[in-house]
């Protein structure tokens, strides 16, 4: 599904280059459940951001579903991202001024989906995650786990091909973490490609493949 070839990304510091991604190569097939592991500072988040086209790289090639991303203008890149990728953050990043229902609905609004269709889609997903009763609450009224659920629901509502999750259970306790990972497993079984970055060994175990990052490149495992 996506292919990264000899990706380099660096920042300049006092005349020297500090590499965030150092000759990174990666192939991901459709339907995979990939876990990216590694210590702090190894470049997990950076890699995820590059894959999500939220961040760019300095050297190398990136093909997504056949498209040469490195050749596209940022507007086109954003478009592809919006159509195909759902992003889940460690800090949830919900819109504090909107209810659960409105938070989940927002991506559909940006896609200009019709009102009746929106209602149906949101209702479905609320149902699926068993949070129908909470649809009129605001984020600050929910627990961490519930907020992350909303975050996942929001990422899923556009039926993306690829889900990227950056430390999705970082702020949750073990019970909540398990629940979230279960959901990821189910989604993957339904055919959604998932790439997660995580510290946690137990989380990584849910995946089909693990890669280890160290200092910006893939460690040979």
């Amino acid at each position: 599904m996506l292919k990264l070839n000899h990706i380099y990304k660096w920042v300049k510091s006092g005349g020297r280059r500090i590499f965030l991604l150092n000759d990174l190569n990666l192939n991901v097939e459709k339907g995979e459940f990939l876990s990216i592991m590694g210590p702090s500072g190894s470049g997990k988040s950076t890699l995820l951001n590059v894959i999500a086209m939220l961040d760019d790289f300095d050297e190398g090639e990136y093909h997504f579903e056949g498209e040469a991303i490195h050749n596209l203008k940022s507007k086109k890149r954003t478009e592809i991202f919006n159509q195909n990728i759902g992003f889940i953050f460690q800090a949830y990043h919900l819109l504090d001024d909107l209810t659960v229902y409105e938070n989940i609905e927002t991506p559909l609004l940006y896609k200009k989906v019709k009102s009746s269709e929106r209602k149906a889609l949101v209702a479905d997903i609320l149902d699926r995650f068993n949070i129908v009763g909470k649809k009129d609450l605001f984020p600050h009224q929910l627990s961490g786990g519930q907020q992350q659920l909303v975050g996942i629901a929001r990422a899923l509502i556009i039926k993306p091909q690829l889900i990227l999750a950056d430390e999705p259970t970082g702020n949750l306790n073990s019970k909540q973490s398990d629940e979230i990972m279960q959901i990821f497993k189910e989604l993957n079984q339904e055919g959604v490609t998932i790439i997660q970055a995580s510290h946690s060994e137990s989380n990584a175990a849910y995946g089909s493949r693990i890669i280890n990052l160290l200092d910006g490149s893939v460690k040979k495992s």
Binding site: H93, L95, T106, P107, Y110
Partner: protein, 803 residues
Amino acid sequence: MIRNYLKTGWRNIIKNKGTFSINIIGLALGIASCIMIMLYVVNELSYDKFNVKADQIVRVVFKANIKNEAIKEAVVMAPVAQTLKNDLPEIIDATRLAKSYNNRLEYNGSYYGQSSLGYVDPNFFNVFTLPIILGNQNTRLDKLNSVVISESLAKSIFGNTDPIGRTITVTNRHEQLNVSGVMKDIPQNSHFHFDFLVSTLGYPQAKNTSWLESDFFTYLVLRKGTEISGVEAKLPAINKKYMGPQMLDAIGMSYEEFQKENSLGLFLQPLTDIHLHSNFSDATTLEQGGDIKYVYIFSAVALFMLVIACINFMNLATASASKRSKEVGIRKVLGSNKKQLIYQFLAESFISTLLATFLAIALFSIALPFFNQLAGKAIDFSSLLQPVYILSLIGLILIITFLAGSYPAFYLSSFNPLNALKSKFSGGGKSSGIRGGLVVFQFVISAGLILATLVVQEQMNYIQNKDIGYEKDQLLVIRNTYLLGNNEDNFLDKIKNDPRVENVTHSAFAPAGESDNEVGGIFLNGEFQRRMFFYNVDENYIPTMGMELLQGRNFSEEFGDENDKIIINKKAAEILGIGQDAIGKTFQRDTNEGLLDITIIGMIKNFNFKSLHQEIEPLILKKNPYGGMIIRSKTADMSGIIENLNEDWNRYNPKEALNYSVLDDSFKHTYLKERKMGTILTLFAMLTIIVACLGLFGLVTFTAEQRFKEIGIRKVLGSSAAQIVTLLSKDFLKLVGISFLIAFPLSYYLMNKWLQDFAYRTDIHWWLYLLAAGITIGIAFLTIGIKSYKAASVNPIKSLKIE
């Protein structure tokens, strides 16, 4: 989609109720003040323009410079109107107006005291647009003894009955007048107001052929398109032709000879200039007008207020928007493109601005009646509803929306979502520099206005407390006692013996308020020196008024008539070049019987008998008691005396009303214009500082939130709350300090210019600056301090938890 934006925007407002209200109120205050002042200025500029022929009407005025004495009179000689109409083809009509004071009207046994009526030529209504609502449109004042009355007067005298054809008596002149028409009340923005216009056909002075006596306000209608200067250039020749021969007869000098060392002439003043650009002697001014200077000042103030309020609004909106960078990041990740974000923020900005404008209009309508009272106007709310104002308001809303919304809309929306999510900016560097500059600007204006207000108050105090050469309190002025005829002496004696009265003088020459006037020529050995003011007094005048005799003696009963003796003021001694040796010197003054020798017996300290705007002129006192009385009461409460005077007067002469005034009040009234300006200035200084402080409050809030984490860390490291407050306040107080450096020199320059208008003025003391600075810093510090203290008291754990 819009609903989503509205929901977000609305809930954002609810979350930040305090900041939002401050913002809206600040902007509303600015807009409301601007509207108020704008309508005031428009009103001031609109005087007399309701006349259809306004652009063609000019007033003939008289300006002269005689022996270095500048004379400016708005009235001219009786024959001028008809003469100019006959001799100059550019003049298609000419009409005259004479004002008569202190008349009493009687109808059907009831008396109506009227202070003024106007004698006008029959064609007055052809020149001025004064619609007649009852009576024949055409005849009006063509008949002898006809009068046109105003709607309000008609109502008060006749109620609902038809006034046409009825007879009103002007008792003090024994005139019986027939009402030939009722006119609409003259609008507020006219330079004259009368309820009673009588035809000049029955007015003897109207037939006067003298070119040396001025009594009439004269208005000309020029042919459309005529240049005023062209007509004005023809006037000197007319002067020479008609004034010359009469001048030769009167003073023995020909017109050309006179013009060699002096100048006099007739000039033309456009009708529309009268209200704001008139500078004529008080005796020849119909009504105290405005001053174009104040129009400029107020326009500037209005503009400043609006600018400050808008700047505030933009500043605060921008500051609170940068808190939403995270939301921008999220929305971008969720699929928003830049255009949608721009739209969202501009929509929010629009709603806030709209709300503020509605609030402003509400504030305006509530404050309007008070403002009208303060400024002596009759501005109507509906005048705001004219298309030009509505369009301007809409334009203003759009501009503010754009300016306030553009930062979040354009700047924020272009951020990389990742950076936005990590809240990696807060508008430091460049934008905080701009914000700082805006704070300085606001405080420059606030500090400047405070200083200006203080200076105006100082000057008003100075005027009130200055030694003006006489004691102005507890003086009662009674005019026209000659109307009591044979009973005048009884009336006077009764007062003299009243135990509540300290002293009485038989004279109607008062240094403030309405007064008799006399001007005469002074000659030395038959040679004309200059004209001087004369006061006709008795031996009680100087003691009653509390004046100080510097040399020589006062008039005295011992010496009988003394009509060849005079007392002069110090200024007269200087002008006549006799300085310290005035006593015993002899001059001549002109009378109907030729030149009369007069000898100086005394010299008094200069006293201000004109407004403090003017230098003290030379003055001559001569013994010639008549006309009125000035009473010095032993106590400040003069109501008892006034009551008795009224009773006595009405016993002797019920046909006239007792004309009395309190000198101190008249004195204060002279400076009414400045007083009003002072009050309005104070009001707007306060408003400006409120708005500036609101802005400061908002900025401090923003900064405190920005530095939330930093404050938490510092507290953990050991900083006290006081040190945090100092940290946060330092920068702002520095800005306020800078604004003083700019404001004070500017203010000094402007206030000095204003003070130049007064011949007698206070200095701008250094401690006024201190006071203004103190007030400004005090208010600013209060504002900053409250918010900083709150921020400094937050538990550091709270600020360090988030990350």
